[in-house]
Amino acid sequence: MFTAEAQDQIIEEFAILDGDQEMMNFYIMELGQKMKLLDEEYMIDDNLVKGCQSKVWLKSKLTGDKVKYLADSNTGITKGLVSLLIRVFSGHTPEDIISAEVYFPERIGMSRFIGTQRSNGFLAMIKQMKLEAIAYRVVLENQN
């Protein structure tokens, strides 16, 4: 499972913050600020992953046999969260993305972000990224 490498790296980075929720939030926002953003032309309703309070725009493309994701959000923390998911998923094959088990949020003490799906749509983001990978798997199968 190649996505594990990125997840383990994230867990290591967050270990330094020692579970301090405020520092974690700041760090997540910082990651969001550094993320390569989606071009504004793609920030349209069709690309929205709907959560309750924050908007997330997600766009993917297939390069060779690898999926690349780009995203943006109107809230800082969600932007940071989606940047973490992109680090985990982007640049992998559809097969790896579909079979990936996302375990880093719990390990960095952020399971509450997953538990409150309604407030930020974290699970919805994972689902959307996987759905797009499934579509690319079909594309690749048809090519072969």
């Binding site: 929720q21 405020e22 974690m24 939030n25 700041f26 926002m29 309750c52 309070q53 924050s54 109107n74 809230t75 800082g76 923390i77 969600t78 407030s119 930020n120």
Partner: protein
């Protein structure tokens, strides 16, 4: 007010969140519960639990007495003329639905009009949309100004002979505005329209006298005034309630049932089908006792002192923008900070143990009116302190420093 003594009566206030003492500023959503209420709930289930009204055994009588005791207490709490005018519901939402569904179904005709306002909670919008659609009636809306106050002049313009129902919020959950409901009622009466007041927010802060207000209906929730969740009240004038058809069918609401014809019970039981939320109704009495012991005017004065202090301190935050600065307010502070999404404000404050609400607060049309998606909202209660405000303001300053 002995703030320390008061706080000690609320066990939840001793909780820690993310290793920090809880600062609970989400009181407009629900308040914490004092020991008196918690003990009453335990006492009920330990010593009185039985189904009410129909039982002849001792326990059933004890449970019924405790349940009806709360009804009498509500009567004195909001000063209704009669105890039969107090109907127990699940909450304000159900109370409004009851009126829309029962009164609306019987009395609305095609072309009739129902008036609400821009600052209504979805609970005071959707039930009217449903019944208006069903009856071919028209929903009219009183607009608000930039400060968050109703435009009474506009209200006067949309009132007419066609107006059958006016349903407005007493105190806004998003803005804190206290509406001039007496004036609203007087004007409606000129056209023989009935008025429902959504008292979900107001009841915890203001002395309520339904006779003095001359409201036709008044809806409230126990959990927003230190009582248990799942209990609400619909007050209605006797003559209106008697004319209204039942809301739901079932046990308790009947006089006689046969397959040919069922006759209905008298008010209030006509509107209380099924086993009610007995324990929580019993507990609610102790919340009213608790509030009256301190006194609403003392509570409101304290809360507004905390609110004023917060407004003053928040001015130190660059980009702070209050939403809702009406002349008369309850202690709801809705705000924005330039360049920071309310969701981020809420998450960051939570990390420091501060609970605020973020989003549209179930008032999307109001948010649309101001061209915003939502706000962060701190709502203060009798147990909140200025020190807690400092914790929030300090947290907000850290966020602003980080972002800018």
């Amino acid at each position: 007010m002995d703030l320390k003594g008061l706080r000690s009566q609320f066990p939840t206030l001793r909780e820690e969140v993310n290793g920090k003492p809880l600062v609970y500023f989400d009181n407009a959503a629900t308040t914490q519960k004092p020991y008196a209420v918690l003990k009453a709930l335990e006492e009920y289930y330990h010593h009185k639990n039985a189904n009410i009204h129909r039982g002849i055994h001792t326990l059933a009588e004890k449970a019924t007495a405790a349940f009806e005791e709360t009804r009498k207490r509500v009567k004195s709490f909001i000063n209704s003329a009669e105890v039969e005018e107090i109907i127990f519901t699940k909450g304000t939402t159900e109370s409004i639905n009851l009126v829309a569904s029962s009164y609306g179904r019987k009395f609305l005709q095609p072309g009739d009009e129902v008036i609400i306002s821009t600052m209504e909670h979805h609970s005071n919008i959707v039930p009217w949309q449903i019944i208006c659609e069903e009856k071919g009636a028209i929903l009219k809306v009183i607009p608000v100004n930039n400060n968050g106050e109703l435009l009474l002049e506009e209200y006067g313009k949309i009132l007419s002979e066609k107006t059958k129902i006016v349903s407005v919020v007493y105190a806004s959950n998003s803005l804190g505005t206290i509406n001039p409901v007496k004036t609203i009622i007087k004007k409606a009466q000129e056209y023989n329209a009935v008025v429902l007041l959504d008292g979900a927010q107001a009841t915890a802060h203001l002395d309520i006298d339904v006779q003095d207000l001359d409201a036709d209906f008044y809806a409230l929730s126990a959990h927003k005034m230190y009582g248990p969740t799942g209990v609400g009240v619909l007050y209605g004038k006797r003559e209106l309630l008697e004319e209204m058809p039942p809301y739901q069918g079932g046990g308790e609401m009947i006089k006689d049932v046969s397959f040919e014809k069922t006759t209905y019970n008298d008010i209030p039981y006509k509107f209380e089908a099924g086993t009610p939320n007995i324990a929580d109704v019993v507990g609610f009495k102790y919340a009213m006792d608790f509030v009256d012991e301190i006194g609403k005017s003392n509570i409101h004065a304290h809360e507004m002192a905390v609110y004023d202090y917060a407004m003053e301190k928040m001015e130190e935050i660059p980009g702070f923008q209050p939403v809702g600065i009406a002349d008369k307010k309850v202690s709801v502070l809705s705000f924005l900070i330039d360049g920071i999404h309310p969701f981020d404000i809420g998450q960051m404050l939570d990390a420091r143990g501060v609970a605020v609400r973020t989003g549209h607060h179930c008032t999307q049309p109001l948010m649309d009116r101001y061209g915003i998606e939502g706000t962060a909202r701190a709502s203060f209660s009798l147990y909140n302190t200025k020190d807690e405000v400092d914790v929030m303001v300090d947290g907000l300053k850290r966020i602003v420093n980080f972002i800018k």
